[in-house]
Amino acid sequence: MADAAKPTPAAPTPSPDGDAHAEPRLAVRDLTMAFGSFVVMRDLNFAINRGDIFIIMGGSGCGKSTLLRHLIGLIEPAKGEIFYGDINFTRAAPDERERLLRGVGILYQSGALFSSMTLAENVGLPLGEFTSLSPAEIREVASLKLALVGLKGFEDYFPSQISGGMQKRAGLARAMALDPDILYFDEPSAGLDPISSRNLDNLILELRDSLGATIVVVTHELPSIFTIGTNSVFLDADTRTMIASGDPKVLREHGEPKVRRFLTRGEDDAEATAAHG
């Protein structure tokens, strides 16, 4: 579907099935995140494989979004490195970083659409900056991307004229503008009703399967985690490090007690309390 518009040479390679998981698309080594002397998380080590839907999960305020901001270079790590493929992103020169980030699409928590531009202009902005398409072609591509997220016909609306869920989808259309092969989602279902949230999950699965993109999602929504997640990392606020990684469905059954509690909404506890009381 999206193959109709592929302006960048970095065409995503579709992963047919499990065996594409051999090569990590993104790797985090010994990452320590800190604000001044306050350590948010330390000793993070994980790899994200091509075609994964990777969930960054953990309790409120444990540093999930901060980790995402590290992965896209908005915050510098206090220690450790982030690799995109075999390129060291943390040590890369600004030009190299910009080139790497061009293969990355980000859906921010609030959508982060440029409020002074229409939806088509929002989606078209990266196309205008980084491709040699003519304005008419840019408009075509923008319309297509908006159609992909179910916003056909909303090209000339301003972000303030559409609902929160639509803003999020428009943000996704913009994130997909340059056909990235990694897509980041920061709390995609925050502020969405259950149906919209479910639709967004389906859209994420669809994008992974059709574009072969690698997807990283920051969330604590259990239904989403189990519907879409193929791999994950669990950040623990008490010990200030990751305490589990792997398929969330497996972690729910065989993980550490703390992770199991999180993934079952603490229902094990509730049963225990009920039995005692």
Binding site: L101, I106, S110, A112, S116, P126, R174
Partner: protein
């Protein structure tokens, strides 16, 4: 209406009974725990404390606060508390309040640093602020440099919008303020000059003051309050909604894309607004000269044109351009460094106006000295 009542009794030396009765409502006065504290303090210390709430009519948080205090007093003296005499709801709420132990290190420490510490902290902060300002100025100069070699990336439609906002839309308020400033100066001068019979010099006074100083300065202050604050609020909001993050990760420099068109618009519009403000101020002075001192318009203008030189006019307009850069810098800097909350946007706007006006007045003083030394 019956009042909330409380009585302490001691049926046996080991047992203390606290009896609460009547309606316990926050809206009316309720007894405090002092009486219980006294009873607990009497030797020998009782072993158990229980409650009798048979006569209790109604209760709200006032009762909970009282009982919580009693429970803490009892705990401090190692007295067992038996809550079974209380209504079920009260019992459960008290259990809930004591379910999670108090986090002792959570309370904010209120520190009162010494005078020297405060002066030192303020100095370091000021130096840091000055450093940030210079760094931002450097980034903006870099962006202007790329503009001149034609490599700056921003949208022309944005520039035109800002030119409209900082130009045409500012005309009414600039007209009002400039006219009034001209009127005020002429009025103050007229009263004095009449005493000497030197009324004609009102034209010199208004002309030189408005063209050299007041036109540029009043326009600057109006624009700092109007446009500087707007820039800070716009950029601050973009920071809150992560639009600036989105630009950065897209590989588009926010300084070039957001700050440059705003600064450029102000740089282009301030000289024009200043010229306009000069004209309106002179007309304002003229109405007083005409109305109060009976000077005819041709006489007023004739005297004025002899007094004001082209150098004065160019100097004033030059100052206005500099003020324009300062306002844009203050507004955009405060917007870009705003925190990520709604309150931070308001703070950024306020701070942008204050910084803008401080910079304008300081620059004005600097210009006065420089122009004097250079003999302009």
């Amino acid at each position: 209406m019956a009042a909330a009542e409380m009585a302490v009794s001691r049926p046996t030396p080991d047992r203390l009974v606290v009896r609460v009765s009547g309606p316990w409502r926050m809206a009316t006065a309720v007894p405090d725990a002092r009486q219980v504290e006294q009873a607990l303090g009497q030797a020998p210390t009782p072993k158990r404390l229980s409650f009798d709430a048979a006569q209790l009519e109604a209760w709200d948080s006032s009762l909970l606060v009282f009982l919580n205090q009693v429970a803490e007093l009892a705990a401090a003296r190692h007295v067992d508390v038996d809550r079974s005499g209380l209504p079920k709801g009260v019992e459960r709420l008290l259990a809930l309040a004591s379910a999670v132990p108090e986090k002792t290190d959570a309370k904010a420490k209120i520190e009162h640093p010494s005078m020297l510490t405060r002066i030192g902290t303020a100095t370091v902060k000021f130096a840091g602020g000055a450093g940030d300002f210079l760094a931002f100025l450097g980034l903006l100069v870099g962006a202007f440099g790329r503009l001149f070699i034609g490599r700056a990336r921003f949208r022309g439609s944005d520039l035109i919008l800002f030119i409209q906002q900082a130009g045409a839309e500012a005309l009414p308020i600039v007209t009002l303020i400039s006219f009034l400033v001209g009127v005020i100066m002429a009025f103050v001068g007229a009263v004095q000059l009449q005493k000497f019979g030197a009324a004609i010099y009102i034209a010199d006074l208004v002309g030189i003051a408005v063209v050299r100083e007041m036109g540029a300065m009043m326009t600057g202050i109006v624009m700092a309050g109007r446009t500087g604050a707007a820039f800070a609020a716009q950029l601050g909001t973009m920071k809150v909604t992560q639009e600036i993050d989105a630009l950065t990760t897209m590989g588009i420099d926010p300084i070039e894309f957001l700050v440059l068109p705003r600064a450029l618009a102000l740089c282009l519009m301030m000289p024009l607004l200043c010229l306009y403000s000069d004209a309106v101020g002179i007309i304002g002075g003229g109405t007083i000269a005409h109305g109060m001192l009976d000077l005819s318009w041709p006489v007023y203008f004739n005297e004025l044109f002899q007094a004001v030189s082209l150098t004065d006019l160019v100097g004033g307009i030059f100052k206005a351009s500099v003020y324009g850069v300062l306002i844009a810098l203050a507004g955009c800097l405060r917007g870009m460094e705003a925190g990520s909350s709604a309150a931070a946007v308001g703070d950024a706007a306020t701070s942008a106006v204050v910084l803008g006006i401080v910079l304008i007045v300081s620059a004005c003083g600097l210009f006065a000295v420089t122009f004097y030394v250079l003999g302009i």
